[in-house]
């Protein structure tokens, strides 16, 4: 910003600030900032406009650091990006309006408008960058978190493991699930694996395809797969879509699946009588 523009803005500092605060307070009711007290809102507004004036006074370079720190704090507190963009739009409007009413001829020149435009644009760029940077970071962290809770294989008995699937299954997740599943089968020496889809909201042809592939891979490494947690609506979609799950056993609940798994590994759960003795029912030791 050239010195003429700077002097013009600074000489009307008080009226610009007052007008701006008034403008910004109009957004108060529309913003999703209802939970913030009036006092905090006013303080934040005042700080915002002070920072903006600091950039006018000192020009470029290290003074933007202050503005960035301010933006970072807003991001952390969860203020929306449109608070900042609207604030800046209001600032442009207020400044141009105030100064065009002023006496000096310079403030009516094209050059003057362009100076203000460039300055505001630069600040918008910096702050939007800050915001989107923090979003990218959040998305990345969420992806990592999702990856971590993406399907652990839990050994429940010797030779029997369970993999509960939760959430939507896309191709990338399916690949990860498959790798976890097979590594886990080897690690736990599982002979039977129960894949529990109780927590999978939608089973379409693609999800079914991934599950079928996983169970075929499990068979290749030398274990058996049982699909459990098939809710009525899932059973309906599977049949309506014409998906053939006939090749591997399915059970409605994890409990029934575990009973089948015990049978497959030639074991059963028996009750112990109160005296501490064991009642054998059709046992074959």
């Amino acid at each position: 910003m050239n010195s003429k523009t700077r002097d013009a803005i600074l000489s009307h500092q008080t009226s610009i600030i007052d007008y701006w605060l008034e403008e910004v307070s109009k957004f108060r009711s529309e913003d999703n900032l209802q939970s913030i007290t009036n006092k905090v809102y006013e303080n934040t507004n005042r700080e915002f406009v002070d920072k903006l004036f600091l950039t006018v006074q000192n020009g470029k370079d290290d003074i933007y650091k202050d503005l960035i720190l301010y933006a970072e704090r807003l991001i952390q507190l969860g203020w929306p990006l449109n608070y900042i963009t609207r604030g800046l739009q209001a600032f442009r409007k207020v400044t141009v309006e105030t100064l065009s009413k002023a006496e000096e001829n310079y403030s009516k020149s094209i050059e003057f408008f362009q100076e203000i435009e460039n300055w505001i644009d630069e600040i918008v760029n910096i702050l939007v960058n800050e915001y989107s940077g923090s979003w990218e970071n959040t998305v990345f962290l969420q992806k990592m978190a999702l990856k971590e809770l993406s399907a652990p294989l839990i050994p429940v008995f010797e030779k029997i493991s369970v993999m509960p699937l939760i959430g939507t299954i896309d191709t990338e997740r399916a690949k990860l699930i498959m790798e976890n599943l097979l590594e886990g089968v080897i690690e736990h020496r599982a002979e039977v694996v129960l894949i529990d889809i109780t927590g999978v909201p939608v089973v379409d042809t693609m999800v079914a395809h991934h599950i079928i592939q996983a169970s075929e891979a499990v068979r290749l490494v030398g274990a058996k797969c049982i699909l459990v947690g098939i809710r009525p609506e899932i059973a309906q979609t599977i049949v309506n879509l014409g998906i053939d799950l006939g090749r591997f056993p399915t059970k409605s609940t994890l409990k029934k699946g575990i009973e089948t798994a015990l049978q497959l590994t030639k074991r059963e759960i028996i009750e112990i009588s109160e005296q501490g003795g064991i009642t054998y029912e059709n046992s074959n030791p």
């Binding site: 790798e179 097979l182 075929e216 290749l220 490494v221 030398g222």
Partner: protein, 118 residues
């Protein structure tokens, strides 16, 4: 290169420890069938723990060994297929449908025993 075939009572035990080229695979097929014929085995365990890759050709050879051995009255179990190998086969669309599998040599033997004797 030849893959050693061990005899244990009624069974043949084979652990594939070398990178399978086409000739070795075909030679292996022949050797297994000859050995079954020679000693009258009822079961064969082929352990693939050390095999890092199975392409469509080797998959076909293995599938054929299973079918041919069955014709000669010997059951075959493939054991120790690595996760990466299994995933690759599935990606390729090779399912090895009718082939019995087990986690390792020990479980493979158990499986043969329970199928042949139980």
């Amino acid at each position: 290169m030849r893959i050693p075939i061990l005899k244990l009572h009624d069974y043949l035990l084979i652990s594939v420890q070398v990178e399978l080229d086409d000739q070795t695979a075909l030679k292996f097929q022949e050797d297994v069938l000859n050995k079954i014929h020679e000693v009258g085995s009822r079961g064969v365990v082929i352990d693939l723990t050390s095999v890092e890759m199975i392409d469509s050709f080797i998959a076909k050879v293995l599938g054929d060994v299973v079918d041919m051995s069955n014709l000669m009255g010997a059951k075959v179990v493939l054991t120790g297929i690595q996760p990466a190998v299994a995933i690759t086969l599935i990606d390729m669309g090779i399912v090895l449908d009718e082939v019995p599998t087990a986690l390792d040599l020990e479980q493979g033997l158990d499986k043969l025993q329970s199928e042949l004797e139980g």
